[in-house]
């Protein structure tokens, strides 16, 4: 009767696994439609790679919203800035990029990625202090200010680099594909998947195994109580914002290499994609964001293969379908 005397286990909380299965179900469901197994494998790998890149770009946005109820409409600016910064390293060092040695290629890619993350993260600091802190807690102004920030960032990139598209060739050793039987898998896609998995695992590790991660998860749920326990959540938030911005920058570098070009409008274009992912996943949920990114990429790849005309609006249709099923996204995190 009483809780004190109660023995035995607690009722197991029901784990909500249906969203996790969704990408698997989707991949299996389209297999008969696609027909050839090799095309299916190629498309699936392409989806996973693209999904991982989108996840890297979107993860910061969803965490920032979950933790502080801040939605940064200028998130795409960090993506574009990251891509441009990478060109600063990769274009002057073109001989190393073109060298036919994986080690040499990685020796220039890694610093480029790190520099992009650092600059995007630093820009995150500026944006948080200048655009978000002054209107903290006012949703309307927040949306307006960060939208303005996106425009300014995009135009500043145009002013600094010019309106032309900058080609950014893939390093030589990452070009081409592995061919296993009649299955073709692009090398760069494997790298993108690998980096995406590392980032996802890293985020999960931090969230579940470190005190900072516990604080973030606790803060997503009830930031007032985190403060009442004596933690300065604004500093934590600034840290998360900067890391999220840095990850967006990393995603920008990867996306630019994937498309082999850089343009100032990519921030604006990807903002829409990233928003759809974050909405599908449930605002604030990292797991949901991961699944949402995979779903968006799958619908784009499978859809583009099966019904090319549909690809234009496939994201919207996916979003509508998910929201009909769960109005707050796959995983609704906050009660707010």
């Amino acid at each position: 009767m009483t809780d004190l005397a109660a023995s035995g286990a607690l009722p197991k909380p029901k784990r909500d696994v249906l969203p996790v299965l969704l990408p698997v179900i989707l991949a299996l469901a389209v297999a008969p439609l696609i027909g050839s197994a090799s095309s299916w494998v190629t498309l699936t790998v392409a989806s996973l790679a693209m999904g991982m890149m989108i996840f890297i770009m979107a993860s910061g946005l969803t965490l920032v919203f979950g933790l502080m109820d801040v939605l940064n409409f200028g998130h795409g600016a960090f993506i574009a800035v990251g891509a441009y910064i990478a060109t600063l390293v990769l274009l002057p060092l073109a001989p190393y990029v073109q060298a036919d040695s994986l080690l040499t290629n990685l020796a220039v890619l890694a610093p480029a990625a790190v520099l992009s993350m650092a600059v995007s993260g630093a820009l995150g600091l500026v944006v948080e202090r200048l655009l978000i802190l002054p209107v903290y807690g006012q949703h309307l102004k927040q949306i307006l200010m960060t939208t303005g920030g996106l425009i300014v960032a995009e135009q500043a990139l145009y002013a600094l680099w010019g309106p032309q598209i900058i080609p950014l060739p893939l390093p030589t050793s990452l070009r081409g594909s592995f061919i296993i039987g009649d299955v073709v898998i692009a090398k760069y896609r494997l790298l993108a998947m690998l980096v995406g998995l590392v980032v996802f695992a890293g985020i999960q590790l931090v969230l579940n195994r470190t005190k900072i991660g516990l604080l973030i998860r606790a803060g997503v749920e009830n930031r007032e109580m985190v403060e009442a326990l004596g933690y300065r959540i604004r500093r934590l938030f600034l840290g998360v914002f900067m890391v999220g911005s840095g990850l967006a920058g990393l995603g920008g570098v990867m996306w630019a290499l994937y498309r082999e070009q850089v343009h100032a409008s990519m921030g604006n274009d990807l903002t829409v994609l990233v928003f759809i992912v974050v909405i599908i996943g449930g605002l604030g949920s990292i797991g949901g964001c991961f699944i949402g990114a995979l779903l968006v990429a799958m619908v784009a790849n499978y859809g583009g293969f099966l019904v090319p005309k549909l690809a234009l609006v496939s994201n919207i249709l996916l979003m509508v379908a998910i929201l009909m099923w769960r109005p707050r996204g796959l995983y609704a995190v906050t009660s707010r």
């Binding site: 200010m145 002013a159 994201n315």
Partner: protein
């Protein structure tokens, strides 16, 4: 007072400014019959109505929509496509209206019912996503929309510049089809703004404001907030589509850049904020200031950019280049939201009230 729905400007300076703007617009064809002045005046009329309808959403319900240009574009395209495919005639104009308005209404209804249930932030994100998909559609379905090139078309006989209704007479003024189109737009925009004034001052408008102040309380009082917000979204969409139709009639063209682009969305946002959110009158002021600045400041920027280039200054020529107009707009926008949130109308009204 009846015409203004009992909501006068409430500031002497504001009243005078409004009267000057409206009077100037009314006499533009008589006093400045040049093409550029006419274009500027028309754009002010159309945007005043468009921005006022956006103000119904942003200022009165507190929801940020990024799909307003989509409705504007639906209006533009429906008239353009109808006139393009059916040939210049009033039946085509009517067809455009009969197809365009219900389409805008349905889309607004769907978006509203879908995304206004949850949170304001959801609405903003979903409108952004839908609008960008629509932009892609419009530029890809070229058999229908003409793609990036858009659709040019001929107006009905009566509205063509060559049609002279009253030849140059005693007043030295010619009433031709172009002038007639201008007054059609002037009257249409005025009617829409007055209708919006009526909406926001009706009991329905008061409910919208109550929802903006505190949605939970409004719900607790028994208002079905989703219904009210969706209704407001539909009204705003209808006005935006109508403004788009007027725009197409004036330009004799509809294309992505003139009726759908994200830049127009930013222009609208800026005009609302500069003019003053939640006032309707702010739309007229914001549109007038912004469009005048856009047309006459860009020339100034160009001159400054050239001067900076001649002087051999680094970076400045690029920053001042007229193509970077949006950069300065963005900065102005942030500064306005931050320092000047009540806009011109709010500032003028507070000056009138207390001399502090």
């Amino acid at each position: 007072m009846m015409v203004l729905s009992g909501d006068p400007p409430r500031s002497r300076v504001l009243s005078i400014v409004l009267i000057v703007i409206i009077a100037a617009l009314a006499v533009t064809p008589l006093v400045f019959p040049g093409a550029k002045a006419m274009n500027v005046a028309t754009k002010i009329c159309i945007f005043a109505a468009l921005v006022a309808s956006y103000d119904l959403l942003l200022g009165y319900t507190g929801s940020v929509s990024f799909a307003h240009t989509m409705f504007y574009g639906i209006g533009s395209y429906s008239v353009a496509i109808a006139l393009y495919s059916m040939g210049p005639g009033w039946a085509a104009v009517a067809t455009g209206i009969v197809i365009g308005l219900p389409l805008a209404l349905l889309l607004a209804l769907a978006i509203g019912l879908f995304s206004l249930r949850v949170e304001a932030i959801f609405f903003a994100m979903i409108t952004l996503a839908v609008a960008s998909a629509f932009l892609v559609l419009a530029s890809q379905l070229s058999w229908l929309t003409g793609g990036e090139d858009g659709r040019s078309f001929q107006l009905p006989e009566l509205l063509r510049p060559g049609t002279v209704l009253i030849s140059k007479g005693v007043f030295g003024f010619e009433l031709n089809g172009r002038v007639l189109t201008y007054y059609l737009i002037f009257a249409g925009s005025a009617a829409m703004i007055l209708a919006l004034l009526r909406v926001v001052n009706s009991p329905f408008g008061r409910v919208l404001q109550a929802i903006r102040e505190n949605r939970f309380r409004a719900e607790a009082l028994g208002f079905r907030t989703v219904f009210h917000l969706t209704y407001a979204n539909c009204i705003a969409a209808l006005v935006a589509a109508s403004a788009g139709m007027l725009n197409a009639l004036w330009l004799r063209y509809a294309g992505p850049d003139t009726s759908l682009s994200f830049a127009i969305m930013l222009d609208i946002l800026l005009m609302v904020v500069i003019g003053g959110m939640g006032t309707i009158y702010g739309a007229i002021i914001g549109a007038a200031i912004f469009i005048l600045a856009q047309n006459y400041l860009q020339a100034l920027m160009s001159a400054a950019s050239n001067a900076a280039a001649d002087a051999g200054l680094p970076l400045l020529p690029g920053l001042l280049h007229p193509d970077r107009w949006l950069l300065w707009l963005g900065l102005l926008f942030i500064a306005s939201v931050y320092f000047f949130p009540t806009g011109v109308v709010g500032r003028l009204r507070s000056i009138g009230r207390k001399p502090s």
